[in-house]
Amino acid sequence: MTVDRALFLHLGLIAALLAFHFVAPAYHHTNIARIMVLAIYAMGYNIAFGYTGLLSLGHALFFGSGLYAAGLLAYHADGTAGIGLIAGLLAGGAVAFALGLFALRTAGVAFMIVTLMFAQAGYLTVLYFGSYTRGDEGIVIPKAGRMLASLDLSDDNTRYLVALALFAVALLVNLWLARSPRGRIMVAMRENEERSRMLGYNPYTVKLTALTISGLYAGLSGAAYALMFGYAGASLASVQYSILPLLYVLLGGAGTVIGPFLGALLMFYLIDYASSITDAHQFVTGVALVLLILFAPKGILGTIRERGLKWLP
């Protein structure tokens, strides 16, 4: 019964987003497409942080890898969106795997610092190769590179539906993973690594797998962002984009499948609304996050799960 409720909830979210496509005002229609793409990134972050306990400050490296894999292929090699999405997915996963080989030899604060430094090196690499990447200014993805077979990703309706399709796959894979034996082992690592080791699991392998899956999500999201919104620039690989998914996950609920989407949604509209009423919108956002940490440290869905919906994955 619990399994059904969880599955229905997630399928219901996908159905609601599909229904929204038909009735959404123009502004919110594009916003939700953007939020779904960013939610894939946050879901990936949640697999590493929320489920496995890996507090990374370097995920912008994985997001940026996907962004530039797709963007540079389209810009310099006339790559199409299909190739770009696959390249972005693989680039994010490969870079995460490579980073994990080194960074997972550390833990805790050291892991945060190592991942932050690698990501900063990645950001500076984008600037260093400015003749290819146009550095901080970035590149505009040509229209031909935004064609997914016969689908034009610069078209609002197509973009929304492709974003929804990617989001739906990412969400359901995340749900499957969270309820699979592998997902439970990841949670075990988060809760008590030494006890998990004593039970026969190899923490290094489990965490490396989780980080690689996380990188696949981030890379796919980065590629989708570049191809759907037509731009790849260094600011999207900056430290700010390592912090954003962390905030999304903390707000929505770490270790919940829908939490990253909810966090991305609320954070987007919090910034959007606050910026329309005050110059100090960053202050408003900061206060909201402080209040959240004080009164609902497990995030919105984490708190709901704690107080009633125990079956929430």
């Binding site: 594009t30 200014e137 993805i141 960053q282």
Partner: protein
């Protein structure tokens, strides 16, 4: 939003078609009254503003300048007799947010077009969305991105000369008056690379030589360790820095040379926009030269239009706010918002603009423009507009620091800044 149908969404289209049909039914019989009401509605111009982030000092003055221009424009009867509103929206000087702001101004705030963006990365991040929304996007950036052909038919820069033209115009003066062996110091990102590439080529064309490029990483906060790289036979140091560390850069350069002999200094005022040149530590700038798009200090031969503009925006003769002498204007760039607003007025009136369905006509009207005469609408000076490249070209000033003020010693000609077209946007589809 473009409601182009696709095989994926017949139902959405049918829903929207039904809504449109319902709306049409509701207005049946009221058409004439509706058209009359619409024609007297305010024209809404979205302004993508760097209110926060690295461009905030520019944004503050862009907002003041555009607001002053708006007042003048409305006092003169608005556009086609309709009043005009500016809708400001902060983009945080961030390209992702920039694209969202273009979206918000167009589809939620119902603006007729969008203008005002300065920083190049925000322009480049936002322009694709403007093209998808098919909304005119008039930037005030001075970047070469528009004229290079990397953007789209809907993106134009009618209010300020681009950096390639600016540096090309500077080169003859530098090589003829300051020296032929030049060392360039610039930020190691795209803006700096534009200066490096275009100025190096322009100097070579004048028989000079850039003997050293010193690129400063964007994360740098102290610069002294770079200065020993300046070759001893350097005649001129060309510097162009931006961001929060510019004051430190200029001060440390002064400390490096002390009171001893130093090469001539030529800088882009970007290094000191919104900074008082009489700040402690900047004394060594006395006698050095700057590029200024529009001289910060009121010149002895200032035109009546320049005086009118300065008073309307609220800038004193020293380039500071009339209400706060410590609040220095970004004078070399901010005129672009004023002039762009008046280009919009002329384009809308030429196109007989009625509403968003006529947005394409605005672009076509601007593309048809060729010259802007100096006047109240163009206080910085006359300009030539290239409809093919969507780029304007104007006169540039070289000023010299004398007695704590920037005094113009040279003004380029229009032709100094011309270069072969790199794109013809008019051949692109909408």
């Amino acid at each position: 939003m473009a409601n182009k149908s696709t095989p994926l969404n017949p139902t959405r289209r049918s829903v929207l078609t039904g809504m449109a049909a319902g709306g049409a039914l509701l207005t049946t019989g009221l058409g004439a009254r509706f058209a009359q009401a619409q024609s007297s509605e305010p024209i809404r111009i979205g302004f993508q503003l760097h209110r926060t982030g690295i461009g905030a000092s520019y944004g503050r003055w862009y907002e003041r300048t555009a607001t002053a221009a708006l007042n003048v424009l409305n006092e003169g009867g608005g556009i086609n007799g309709r009043p005009v509103e500016l809708v400001f929206e902060d983009d945080g000087t961030d390209p992702k947010r920039g694209a969202e702001v273009v979206e918000k101004l167009t589809t939620q705030s119902n603006c007729d077009l969008v203008m005002g963006t300065l920083f190049s990365h925000v322009v480049i991040g936002s322009a694709p969305r403007a093209g998808e929304l098919k909304v005119p996007y008039l930037v005030c950036s001075e970047g070469h991105h528009v004229a290079s052909g990397m953007l789209n038919r809907w993106t134009m820069q009618p209010g300020i000369t681009d950096v390639k033209s600016q540096v090309q115009g500077m080169a003859p003066f530098v090589t003829s008056n300051l020296g032929k062996k030049i060392t360039m110091i610039f930020p190691d990102f795209a803006f700096g690379h534009d200066h490096r590439d275009y100025f190096t080529a322009a100097v070579a064309a004048q028989g000079g030589e850039v003997i050293k490029h010193i690129a400063i990483p964007p994360t740098e906060t102290s610069f002294t360790r770079y200065f020993p790289q300046i070759p001893s036979d350097t005649d001129v140091i060309y510097h162009v820095m931006v961001g929060p560390a510019v004051l430190t850069f200029v001060k440390e350069l002064g400390e490096f040379y002390g009171s001893g002999a130093r090469p001539q200094l030529f800088g882009f005022i970007d290094s000191l926009e919104a900074v008082d040149i009489n700040s402690p530590g900047l004394e060594f700038l006395d006698g050095s030269h700057f590029w200024e798009g529009h001289p910060r200090y009121k010149q002895a031969d200032a035109s009546e239009h320049e005086a009118f503009y300065r008073a309307a925006v609220g800038v004193d003769d020293n380039g500071a706010s009339v209400s706060d002498p410590a609040d220095i204007a970004t004078y070399a760039h901010m005129f672009s918002t004023w002039e762009t607003l008046f280009v919009i007025k002329h384009a809308m009136e030429a196109a007989g603009y009625q509403g968003p369905a006529d947005r394409q006509k605005i672009v076509e009207a601007i593309e048809a423009m060729t010259d802007f005469a100096e006047g109240q609408a163009h206080p910085q000076g006359p300009k030539t507009f290239n409809g093919k490249t969507h780029q304007t070209f104007g006169l540039q000033s070289i000023t010299k620091v004398e007695g704590g003020k920037l005094v113009r010693v040279h003004q380029t000609t229009m032709e100094d800044g011309f270069y072969p077209d790199e794109v013809d946007y008019t051949t692109m589809s909408f």
